[in-house]
């Protein structure tokens, strides 16, 4: 297992280098630079601009800038935002809990509904329920996030007025950040109604963000279960006189989970990409919205840092999935 882990971590190094290169070049391919955007319509004196570019090191050759960037990363320095004047890493860790809270809630919804729906569809293959579940999953998968988000806002926030339109908690509540997770902090604050407010703010963005992963997980679970339910060992389990719940929930599901876990791991990338749109629609103060705002401001260091950190999170989750894969499937563990 240790050798497997070391091998997987070794593979992360070239991937990480590739990400730094993409993050560095991506923002520089966009027209305009941070100084033009900061100066706004008033413009900036060319001599002053040249002086500032020199101070920031942007007048050096690109390869030189890249090497300096790499050197800073190795020292744990992702640079400072042009706009907020705060270190990128500090901003990231301030905003990251909001995205994690949203993503965890979304993946929880996707797994909690997607896996049982997939199992049910497989067990009742060809039935009305199967057709309905798979039809709904296809609609969910095909739904553009921004449109789906707006529809839900119009219906639940606008017409029914059940949920707030945006933000993480109502403005009437104020308490210090302890963990950065609004659900936990609101509980810790002891303020009446704070937790309920946090939940009501979280619910719509989570549902929107969960929609595509839910559809993918449900479809993957169904197809994996269908394959596994026809296996000889499932027949053996039934021949032992086990109850259908145990046969399906233990013997079949344990095997079907192997591809499903991989799918869930891959959905983390989809979730973070979806978070960018969802956070923008719901004004959710997470790294997705931060990244979008920083791209429009050409805040080079923030964009580079945010991309790098998001890629790091995806790589870490993939590593965890690989380890889980080995834990669930003994054949992989022993190989």
């Amino acid at each position: 297992m240790l050798r497997f882990l070391v091998g997987r971590i070794g593979l992360l190094i070239p991937t990480f280098l590739g990400v730094t290169l993409v993050a560095f070049s991506f923002i520089r391919l966009l027209p305009g630079d941070p100084l033009d955007l900061l100066a706004g319509e008033r413009g900036i004196d060319p001599a002053r601009k040249a002086e500032l570019l020199h101070q920031m090191g942007f007048d050096r050759p690109l390869w030189h800038q890249y090497l300096m960037y790499l050197g800073d990363i190795l020292q744990g320095d992702l640079g400072t935002s042009f706009v907020s004047k705060k270190p990128v890493l500090e901003e990231f860790f301030t905003l990251f809990p909001a995205t994690v809270e949203l993503s965890l809630c979304a993946i929880f919804i996707a797994v909690a509904i997607g896996i049982p729906a997939g199992i049910f569809a497989a067990v009742k293959r060809g039935s009305f329920f199967d057709q309905t579940i798979m039809g709904t999953a296809l609609v969910g998968y095909s739904m553009p996030i921004f449109w789906w988000g707006l529809l839900l806002i119009i219906f639940f926030s606008g017409i029914l007025q059940w949920t707030p339109v945006s933000g993480r908690i109502s403005l009437i509540y104020f308490f210090p950040q302890v963990t950065g997770f609004m659900l936990i902090d609101s509980l810790l604050s002891g303020q009446e109604g704070a937790f309920k407010s946090a939940v009501s703010h979280l619910i719509l963005p989570s549902v929107v963000l969960a929609t595509i992963p839910l559809a993918v997980i449900a479809r993957q679970t169904r197809s994996a279960m269908l394959e596994v339910l026809g296996e000889d060992y499932v027949r053996t389990a039934r021949a032992k006189g086990l109850a259908p719940f145990r046969v399906i929930g233990l013997h079949a599901l344990r095997n079907a989970l192997i591809p499903v876990i991989t799918t869930i791991g891959l959905q983390v990338g989809v979730l973070l990409a979806g978070a960018i749109l969802t956070e923008t629609i719901f004004s959710w103060p997470g790294i997705g919205k931060w990244l979008v705002d920083s791209i429009s401001r050409r805040d080079y260091f923030v964009v580079q840092g945010a991309l790098l950190m998001i890629a790091g999170v995806v790589m870490l989750v993939n590593l965890i999935v690989d380890v889980l894969y080995g834990l669930i499937n003994p054949r992989i563990r022993h190989n």
């Binding site: 000889d232 060992y233 039934r238 021949a239 032992k240 006189g241 086990l242 013997h251 499937n329 003994p330």
Partner: protein, 285 residues
């Protein structure tokens, strides 16, 4: 009272091209301590009949039977829960592909112990002890160390021994062995057959051996049922069957055995074309 009595068992499968009759009115009777062989070529409905008894057929199958009694109890009238008390405990089954029949995600100790957990009141430590005894009884070396082995870490023969241990865990009164040696090599086949017969003699359980191998029939069975295309051709004791087969299909099967060859070419069942065609007409009618 026989241990198992089945009368006029019929099984039909729904297919895209209409219903397919897999079994057409077969009868079986097995007594305690008796070995019944069900023999026939692929598609003769040997396994389907036993899967119908075990309730393991897919939803596309329709089973009709005049009588299906185990120890005098009508199995068809049992609720699903009551039937599960019989299946796996009093009647157990082993299958053709031992490696595929064991769950790759669980240790063999867990899989054998699970049958005991469901059907007995043994404590966890007693179950572990019993699993070790069972592995020892089926001839697995170092049984204690094997408890935590996964199926992929064992050979096909060892997996079949584990399957047998699982099947006899609750001391069944009837064991069904569905071509238990087909997927194994010849030397292991002999060991597995000897093991099954030894266990059957020791426990006095009934044994139904499904096979297409007349050698296995001769070596193990007390009585034989010969099937062809879902219909019962002949039933007799093993000596009578080999010495004076009555039905043309049984004669065809026996003449296809290598040791019975007389000419340059080994006859096959398809050489008895006239008979096969007449049987096919009966089935389609």
């Amino acid at each position: 009272m026989p241990l198992l009595e089945i009368r006029n068992l019929k099984v039909e499968f729904e297919t895209a091209s209409g219903p397919f009759k897999a079994l057409d009115g077969v009868d079986y009777t097995v007594d305690s301590g008796e070995v019944l062989a069900i023999v026939g070529e692929s598609g003769s409905g040997k396994s389907v009949a036993m899967l119908a008894l075990m309730g393991l057929l897919p939803d596309t199958a329709t089973v009709t039977v005049d009588k299906m009694e185990f120890e005098g109890r009508d199995i068809t009238k049992l609720s699903a829960t009551d039937r599960r008390q019989v299946i796996g405990k009093d009647i157990s089954m082993i299958f053709q592909e031992p490696i595929a029949s064991l769950n790759p995600c669980f240790t063999v100790g867990f899989q054998i112990g699970e049958a005991l957990k469901v059907h007995t009141d043994l404590s966890s430590s007693d179950r572990s002890r019993r699993v070790i005894e069972l592995l020892e009884a089926v001839g697995i070396p170092e049984p204690k160390g094997r408890l935590s082995s996964f199926p992929h870490q064992m050979s096909g023969g060892q997996c079949q021994r584990v399957m047998i241990a699982m099947a006899i865990a609750c001391q069944p009164k009837l064991l069904i062995a569905d071509e238990p040696t087909t997927a194994l090599d010849v030397t292991i086949q002999k060991q597995i057959l000897d093991l099954l017969l030894k266990l059957q003699e020791e426990s006095g359980m009934g044994l139904i051996m499904i096979t297409h191998d007349m050698g296995v029939v001769a070596e193990t069975a007390d009585r034989v049922v010969v099937q062809y295309q879902g219909r019962q051709m002949e039933e007799s004791d093993v000596l009578t069957l080999f010495e004076s087969p009555k039905h043309p299909y049984t004669k065809a099967l026996l003449s296809a055995l290598p040791e019975n060859a007389t000419g340059d070419r080994l006859p096959t069942v398809s050489d008895f074309r006239e008979f096969l065609e007449s049987e096919a007409k009966k089935v389609s009618a």
